[in-house]
Symmetry: C2
Subunit: 252 residues, 2 copies
């Protein structure tokens, strides 16, 4: 059995805590966070807000905000323990104070209060040395069916790709919702389309799945659409239309 101190109490930490609660090979023996109030939702496990009181453990799992990883890592006396962070955009070097380091990056959007099935979340792992990679692989396989070896450089690109397919996509949903609101249309009408559009790319490449007026170069529809939009929406519409046409070899 390997012992884990979980560092952090945000969305990722909370979901990891739940996912790691029922396993025998790895056990969370303590949760640490600088703010004592944030520790209240972690019952049945020792907690501390004093870095001096952090237990000795096999693994220190840092699940805090990106810009806090380096400084939090400095406060931990890990000794021979393996220190991991969970960020998509922070390199392994942020932990360089420590002898044994690694990354355990679950690629998913976490919200407080919304359960996720961790078994289906891809976990991207990286380690400073090959022996630790094996420990990380075992830990990752405890919580997920989907484990990938990803370098710091690849992880940086993956995080960027995730911004496109999740954060930016969500913003387009928001624009769609605004257009509906302005015209007294219930946004729910769009939900089956949204889900099918996402599901489709699990079965075919998004490049092949592209449809719509931009792909067809249907100028009449494109111009009619532009007339209905405000300035900011027009910019988005024009740029994405141009981009689709460049990719599919058509000119505006």
């Amino acid at each position: 059995m390997k012992s884990i101190v979980l560092i952090g109490t945000g969305n990722v930490a909370t979901h990891l805590f739940k996912a790691l609660s029922n396993f025998q090979d790895f056990r969370i023996i303590q949760v640490y966070n600088y703010n004592p109030e944030s520790l209240a939702p972690f019952p049945n496990v020792p907690v501390t807000s004093n870095p001096e009181e952090i237990f000795k453990a096999d693994i220190y799992l840092i699940a805090v905000k990106d810009d806090a990883i380096s400084s939090v890592s400095q406060t931990i006396k890990a000794g021979e323990g393996l220190v991991l962070h969970t960020s998509g955009s922070v390199t392994l070097e942020a932990l360089e104070k420590h002898r044994r380091t690694g990354v355990f990056y679950p690629l998913q959007t976490f919200s407080k209060g919304k359960d996720v099935d961790f078994k289906n979340i891809p976990v991207c792992i990286e380690a400073g040395n090959i022996n630790d990679l094996e420990i990380l692989e075992n830990l990752a396989r405890e919580v997920s069916h989907k484990v990938y070896h990803i370098t710091s450089l690849q992880r940086k690109s993956l995080h960027l790709a995730a911004v496109f397919v999740s954060n930016f996509v969500n913003h387009l949903y928001t624009e769609g919702e605004q257009i509906c609101k302005q015209n007294d249309i219930p946004f729910e009408i769009l939900l089956p389309l949204i889900e099918e559009t996402a599901h489709k790319v699990t079965q075919m490449s998004p490049a092949d799945a592209q449809t719509g007026p931009a792909k067809r170069n249907d100028k009449e529809v494109i111009n009619a659409h532009l007339e209905q939009l405000n300035e900011q929406q027009q910019k988005i519409y024009s740029l994405l239309t141009t981009s689709i046409q460049k990719l599919h070899g058509k000119e505006l």
Copy 2:
């Protein structure tokens, strides 16, 4: 029992044909298309490619490309029959040659060879007069649980919103796939995130679901991301980041 002549043999026509095959109150009595070869995949039903041979029917359901609707509609001698089209971006007036007109617009992305459950597809209906709206409502309820009364003006906006949440979203998936390819990362790592991002907005407003470096105004991550992108991708990244920040009240 009301008889239907289905006009068109594309994706929408094919899926409608399947959805309407098993009902008693409405029955497709013939499929028409100008190209005889396209009629081959419609067995067990009379077909014709000669507009003079179109049967007399209660309903003529035109499921052809947007820019062909008006001209195809001219070739039909509908008499007292109800003439419908299935387009999101064409007004009711495109059918104005006919006495009784309506719109039956299923809001979904259809691909040949990929089955869809029509029961969950929202069908947006509109009719030239109130009695025909009732017939349309009955027809729509035969194939779907989700029926909405939507005016031509609303339908135009709905179609535009659909471009944002489906066509443009799919293009962002494509950009994500390209970033993965360029860095030897399997695109499948992103699929659970893509599906969860879509699923999330069935439970909360996309405006509330927004996360990411743009929302947090994390300039360090934003600048690092921009450095990794080509010119076209940088334009998209900058514009959508600005747009998210305007919406959420932050300045770059």
